[in-house]
């Protein structure tokens, strides 16, 4: 049997190759039609002026038009804040259920919960937060009635930067848990024992052994969270009705009607976003590969 398999494989390696490639042709055709052509179209259109000639103007304006620069700034800030906040909370929770000494049964509960929460987004998530800390929200009322604190008098607003960040965190930290739990599992017991035998304290072990090993994985996961927030549209739209000027919302406005009065600039904005997403995915995979050296 193994012999047949071997000869089969050998034949495939030679000239009749294009026939073998036909096997995945439907998949490739689909990807071209519904993924590459649409992306390519946005790409070429962002280098085209209204008369159809090649131009770099749109790309240049991307960095000079205040409207667009501000949108990118806001998106980057929200993504960075929620990646950091969600990353820290997610890491601590993953730590708690893996090596933190909590009962093992809690681990699978948390993982399932995280699977649900990281998929619970968009309109229902926005509504849930309105019911929680909107003006008439559950927590808003509790804070007002029992603690005499009206958060809306103190500048809090659910439909602003802080509010949106709080909502994004809801799908950010569970994603961190899902990525970090397996990584924390990879910490070998022997490392800790070795460190203790050499007289290291717990703090020293974490600082000098565990943390350096985990660092690429933590950074990689946070970069992934960054991209996760950066590409989010539905949640922000449902929460603010399009009144918060992040990149995805502005692109949405541009699709509905040419609000920039320059279609090419709208395409350029979309491509700028793809570039940022690509950089963050590349950073994630690079760091992930680095992690695998230690954590398997």
């Amino acid at each position: 049997m193994a012999q047949t398999a071997l000869t089969l494989k050998k034949n495939d390696g030679t000239a009749a190759n294009w026939r073998t490639w036909l096997g995945i042709a439907p998949f490739l055709l689909f990807a071209v039609l519904f993924l590459f052509l649409p992306s390519l179209r946005l790409f070429t259109a962002s280098f085209t002026d209204p008369d159809g000639n090649f131009t770099l103007n749109n790309i240049i304006q991307l960095f000079s038009e205040p409207f667009i620069v501000n949108a990118y700034k806001l998106s980057i800030q929200i993504s960075a804040v929620t990646a950091l906040g969600g990353g820290i909370l997610g890491f601590l929770m993953a730590y708690a259920v893996t090596v933190g000494g909590l009962p093992r049964s809690l681990r699978s509960v948390l993982i399932t919960f995280s699977g649900v929460a990281s998929n619970f987004a968009g309109v229902p998530l926005a509504f849930a937060f309105v019911a929680t800390i909107g003006r008439q929200g559950f927590i808003t009322h509790i804070l007002r009635d029992y603690f005499g604190l009206n958060i809306y008098d103190h500048g809090f607003n659910l439909y602003s930067f802080a509010g949106l960040s709080l909502v994004y965190m809801y799908f950010q930290f569970p994603l961190m848990v899902l990525i970090m739990a397996p990584a924390l599992d990879g910490l070998k017991r022997e490392w800790r024992e070795a460190a203790e035998n050499l007289g290291a304290t717990t703090a020293q072990y974490w600082l000098r052994v565990a943390f350096p090993v985990l660092l690429p994985s933590i950074l990689g996961a946070m970069i992934l969270l960054f991209g996760n927030a950066f590409g989010a549209y539905a949640t922000a739209y449902a929460l603010t009705g399009g009144r918060i000027g992040i990149v995805t919302i502005q692109i949405g406005a541009q699709i509905r009607g040419d609000v920039l009065y320059n279609p090419g600039l709208g395409y350029a904005m979309a491509i700028g976003m793809v570039v940022i997403m690509a950089i963050s995915l590349a950073g994630y995979s690079w760091l992930q590969a680095k992690t695998e050296r230690w954590l398997r």
């Binding site: 995945i24 649409p38 601590l92 000494g101 509504f127 849930a128």
Partner: protein, 276 residues
């Protein structure tokens, strides 16, 4: 003595992090539930009753479910044979296909729909002539259905491919194929009657995840002008107070059900999708 020792070993900090996270997770759900039940003290389920009485709810909800089923079918037809073929005959295509399946992380829904609309809102003509091969897909119902299912298939691709590929890793594809071939089975029979049943739990988990992405998705649906559940929920959110809360809670329960089933069938790793 032993009490103090046990106290010292008690993982206070771990419990603290877990409780903070759990509160973050649970409070919005409690708030939503509480709000949805507070419409009429006499009739706590009034919001749910009203929400379910609305015909538009059922129409959009069933429509979204149909879209989810269509997406799952298309994904399985595209991805299972591809993943199978790569394992069996074409390992050199693995990197390419994995790269393609990761693309949706780089091209988020809002960009994808932007590109789809720009490409398919013009008709497909025979080059240099006026002869129309295909009218603009965005102009008729079947066309937008095709576009949206294609778009959802793209969004679900990373999860579906990963599930299927992981599922196939545990099955000896080569031996099964050779056995089937020696009994005279066709390629179709091999994939439909031998490979598919062998990776059913992986398929199921991919399918449930796809379901969780598609039902309630708003970005593609609203820009393609499709009357799906996501846009409907958004719309009633603009005009009503209690029904949207009730439906949000129901949506949460559905997501919970899907993830719980995945956990049950795969008995392990949770996965995260991204319809944010």
């Amino acid at each position: 003595m032993s009490f103090w020792r046990r106290l010292r070993k008690f993982p206070f900090l771990s419990w603290l992090w877990l409780i903070i996270g759990a509160l973050y997770f649970v409070l919005p759900l409690i708030a939503t539930l509480e709000f949805s039940l507070s419409w009429d003290p006499e009739l706590p389920l009034k919001a749910y009753q009203r929400a379910f009485e609305d015909n538009d709810f059922w129409e959009t909800f069933l429509y979204s479910n149909a879209l989810a089923v269509a997406t799952i079918v298309v994904s399985v037809i595209l991805i299972v044979p591809t993943a199978y073929w790569i394992r069996l005959r074409l390992p050199e295509a693995r990197r390419l296909v994995e790269f393609i399946t990761l693309m949706p992380f780089v091209v988020p829904a809002i960009i994808l729909v932007f590109g789809l609309i720009r490409i398919y809102s013009s008709s497909l003509d025979v080059p240099f002539t006026e002869i129309e091969l295909m009218p603009p897909l965005t102009n008729f119902k079947m066309g937008t259905n095709i576009l949206i299912v294609a778009g959802y298939t793209v969004l679900a691709m990373p999860y579906m491919y990963r599930s299927v590929d992981t599922g196939m890793r545990t099955v000896d594809i080569r031996t099964l194929t050779e056995a089937a071939q020696s009994l005279g089975a066709s390629w179709f029979t091999i994939i439909a009657r031998i490979i598919l049943p062998n990776i059913r739990s992986a398929l199921l988990s991919g399918a449930l995840l796809t379901f969780a992405i598609v039902v309630g998705e708003v970005t593609l649906a609203s820009f393609l002008g499709v009357d799906a559940f996501g846009p409907y929920l958004f719309l009633i959110g603009q005009h009503r107070a209690y029904e949207p809360a009730a439906l949000s809670f129901v949506t949460f329960l559905l997501t919970w059900l899907a993830m719980g089933l995945i956990q049950l069938f795969t008995g392990g790793q949770g996965q995260a999708a991204g319809a944010h």
